[in-house]
C-alpha cells in the first residue's frame, strides 16, 4: 500500500473513530441501568436493528475473505456466501419472536425460564464464552494482519488500537453505543461495497454476465464451475449444518433481539437484516470477479497469499488512492464493530447469567450488576488483546467454523427445545449444552485442520473439518434421551405459562 492511500485511510479511520466516540459519549449519558447497558433501553427500531444485525454479522472475514476467495478461485467463493446467509431465515422462522418475548438479556433467559436457573446459567455461560472466545481470536488475529497490510502499523499496535477503541465503546456506551457503531459500520460497508460493485459493472456495460465472460476469457471455464473447495460432499453438508443452525445460536446476534421493544419489531428487524446481508453477499461476488479481472490474481496473491486484499486493491484500481483508503478504513471499522458486539455478549453472560443468577441467585442490585458488567468488559478486552498476541502468526481461520459449530450444537438445540417441548428437563438441557460444546471442541481437535495441519500429528482421526453433521444431531439426541430419563414435573407445569409469555410478551402475559 502506498503512502498516499495510507494517509487517506488513516484520515477516514480517525473520522470514524471520532464520530463513534462522540456517539459513545452521548450513549454513556443515557446508560443508567442494566436494561440500557445490555438492551439499549429496548428502544431500537426495526430498521435500525436490521442494520445493526447486519453490522454484527458482516465481518471483515466475509467482506475481504469472500471477495478474496472469489477473486482467487471463482465460483467456489459463492458456496461460502450462500452458507453464511441461510441461517438468517431460520432465526426469523423459529427463534426471534419467542426469544424476544421470553428473555431479557441473554439466550440463557429463555432456556432457564421454566428450568432450574443455576445449572442452565452455568452451562449457557460456558458455551457463550467459548463461542465468544474463539470468534474473538479469529477477529483479533485477522485484525492484526489486515491492519498491518493496510495501514503499515505493527501487529501489536493494531491489536492495542482495536482493543482500546472497542473497550471505550462497550465500557462507557454499552449496547446503545455498540448498536450505533454497528449501524454506522453497516451503512459505510454497504455503501462502499455497492459503489465499488457499480464501478466494476460500469466497465462491463452494467452487465454481470459480461464480467463473468471476461473472467472466463482470462482464467478458463473453470472459474464459473465448482473447483476444489467441495472435495468431499459429507464435509460440505457438515459445514452447511454448522453454518445454518450456528447462526441461530450466536450469542451476540441473539442478544440484538432484546434491543427492540417487542416481538413484532424483532421479526421485522431480522427481515431487514436478511435482505441487507443477502444483497451484501451478491455484491461481494461481483467484487471478487471484478478483482480477478481488473486487478489480476497474480497481483492479488503477491500482496497477500490468502487473497484478502482483493477488494481494497480493486478499489485502488477503480477509484484511486482515495477510494482504496476509504475501503481500508471501512474494513478496520468493520473489525472494531464486530469485536465490540462479541465483547458485550460475553460481558452479559458473565454479569447477567453468572453473577446475577448463579452468584447472587437472581437477587442482584442494579448498580452492582452494572459494575460487574463493566469489570467483565475490561477483562474481556484485555483477554482479546492477549489472545491476539498469543495466536499471532497462527492459522486461525478454522476458529470461526468452530464457533459456529459450538453455537449450532450447544446453543441452538437447547434454545429450540426449551421453546417447543414440554418435557424438556434441566438435566436434558445441561447435558445437551455440554455435549454440544465438548464434542465440537474434541472433534475439531481431531480434525484434519488441527490434528494434521496445526499439530502435525499425522493423519487426522476424524476426517471432517467441521463436525456439525455429528455434533448437532448428537446434541439433540442427548437432550431428548436425558430429558425422558429425568422427568421434571415443575418444568412441565411451567410450560403453559412459558407458552403464554412467548406469545404475548412480558407485559400482558395472561389472557383469559
Amino acid at each position: 500500500m502506498t503512502e498516499g492511500s495510507s494517509s487517506v485511510a488513516i484520515a477516514w479511520f480517525l473520522g470514524f473513530v471520532a464520530i463513534t466516540l462522540g456517539i459513545t459519549y452521548w450513549a454513556a449519558r443515557k446508560t443508567r441501568s442494566t436494561r440500557d447497558y445490555f438492551a439499549a433501553g429496548e428502544a431500537i427500531s426495526a430498521v435500525q436493528n436490521g442494520f445493526a444485525l447486519a453490522g454484527d454479522y458482516m465481518s471483515a472475514a466475509s467482506f475481504l475473505g469472500i471477495a478474496g476467495l472469489v477473486a482467487t478461485s471463482g465460483f467456489d467463493g459463492l458456496i461460502y456466501s450462500v452458507g453464511w446467509l441461510v441461517g438468517w431465515p431460520v432465526i426469523t422462522f423459529l427463534i426471534a419472536e419467542p426469544l424476544r418475548n421470553l428473555g431479557k438479556y441473554t439466550f440463557a433467559d429463555v432456556v432457564a425460564y421454566r428450568l432450574r436457573q443455576r445449572p442452565i446459567r452455568i452451562a449457557a455461560a460456558a458455551s457463550t464464552l467459548t463461542v465468544v472466545t474463539f470468534y474473538l481470536i479469529a477477529q483479533m488475529v485477522g485484525a492484526g494482519n489486515l491492519i498491518r497490510l493496510m495501514f503499515g502499523l505493527s501487529y501489536e499496535t493494531a491489536l492495542i488500537i482495536v482493543g482500546s477503541v472497542m473497550l471505550a465503546y462497550v465500557l462507557f456506551g454499552g449496547m446503545i453505543a455498540t448498536t450505533w457503531v454497528q449501524i454506522i459500520k453497516a451503512v459505510l460497508l454497504l455503501l462502499g461495497a455497492t459503489l465499488l460493485a457499480v464501478l466494476v459493472l460500469a466497465q462491463f456495460g452494467m452487465n454481470p454476465l459480461a464480467l463473468f465472460a471476461a473472467a472466463k476469457e482470462q482464467y478458463g471455464t473453470g472459474v464459473l464451475a465448482p473447483g476444489k473447495l467441495v472435495a468431499n460432499p459429507l464435509e460440505a453438508i457438515s459445514l452447511g449444518i454448522a453454518l445454518m443452525f450456528g447462526c441461530a445460536g450466536l450469542p451476540h446476534i441473539l442478544m440484538r433481539f432484546y434491543t427492540v421493544p417487542d416481538a413484532k419489531t424483532a421479526r421485522r428487524s431480522v427481515a431487514y437484516a436478511t435482505s441487507l446481508i443477502g444483497f451484501f453477499y451478491l455484491v461481494t461476488f461481483i467484487l471478487g470477479f471484478g478483482a480477478s479481472v481488473l486487478v489480476g490474481r497474480k497481483a492479488i496473491i503477491a500482496v497477500d497469499a490468502g487473497g484478502n486484499m482483493a477488494a481494497p486493491l480493486l478499489a485502488g484500481v477503480l477509484g484511486g488512492t482515495g477510494f482504496l483508503g476509504f475501503i481500508s478504513a471501512v474494513a478496520f471499522a468493520t473489525i472494531l464493530a464486530v469485536v465490540a458486539g462479541l465483547t458485550l455478549s460475553g460481558a452479559a453472560a458473565l454479569a447477567h447469567d453468572l453473577w446475577g443468577h448463579v452468584v447472587r441467585k437472581g437477587k442482584v442490585d442494579e448498580r452492582e450488576q452494572l459494575k460487574v458488567a463493566r469489570l467483565a468488559t475490561v477483562g474481556l478486552a484485555v483477554l482479546a488483546i492477549c489472545l491476539g498476541l498469543v495466536f499471532q502468526g497462527q492459522n486461525v481461520a478454522f476458529m470461526v467454523g468452530l464457533a459456529f459449530s459450538i453455537a449450532a450444537s450447544a446453543n441452538f438445540p437447547a434454545l429450540l427445545l426449551s421453546m417447543l417441548w414440554r418435557r424438556f428437563s434441566t438435566r436434558g438441557a445441561v447435558a445437551s449444552m455440554v455435549t454440544g460444546t465438548v464434542s465440537s471442541l474434541v472433534l475439531i481437535t481431531l480434525s484434519p485442520t488441527v490434528w494434521k495441519d496445526l499439530l502435525h500429528n499425522g493423519e487426522a482421526i476424524i476426517p471432517l473439518k467441521n463436525p456439525g453433521i455429528i455434533t448437532v444431531p448428537l446434541s439433540f439426541l442427548v437432550a431428548i434421551v436425558v430429558s425422558l430419563l429425568t422427568p421434571e414435573p415443575e418444568a412441565q407445569a411451567g410450560f403453559d405459562a412459558a407458552q403464554r409469555r412467548m406469545t404475548f410478551g412480558p407485559e400482558d402475559s395472561l389472557p383469559g
Binding site: G83, P89, L224, L420, D508
Partner: protein, 93 residues
C-alpha cells in the same frame, strides 16, 4: 373459555407449522445447492447464456435471493394473520 383457548392454540400451532415448513424449504434449497456442487460438478459447470454464466452461479444466486423472499413471506403472514389473532386473544383476556 375453552373455545377461545382452542382458537389461540390453533394459531400458535400454525405459527410453528409455517415456521417449520419455511425452514424446511430453506434447507431444501441450500442443501440442494450443496449437493449439486458436490455431486453434480459437471452439471453445475454447464454454461448458459452464450457461455457467460454457469448453472452453479445461477442456482447459488437464486438461493441467496430465496432467503430474504421466504423471510418476507413469513413476515407478511405474521403481520396479517398472526398479529391480529394474538391481539384479539389479548383483548379478550
Amino acid at each position: 373459555m375453552e373455545g377461545r383457548d382452542a382458537a389461540l392454540a390453533a394459531v400458535l400451532k400454525k405459527r410453528w407449522r409455517i415456521g417449520a415448513t419455511l425452514t424446511a424449504v430453506m434447507m431444501l434449497a441450500y442443501f440442494g445447492f450443496i449437493l449439486l456442487v458436490a455431486f453434480g460438478k459437471e452439471e453445475a459447470g454447464t454454461l448458459l447464456a452464450d457461455g457467460r454464466v454457469s448453472v452453479g452461479i445461477v442456482v447459488g444466486a437464486i438461493v441467496i435471493v430465496i432467503a430474504p423472499v421466504l423471510t418476507a413471506v413469513y413476515v407478511r403472514w405474521a403481520n396479517r394473520v398472526y398479529d391480529p389473532a394474538i391481539d384479539a386473544a389479548r383483548k379478550r383476556g
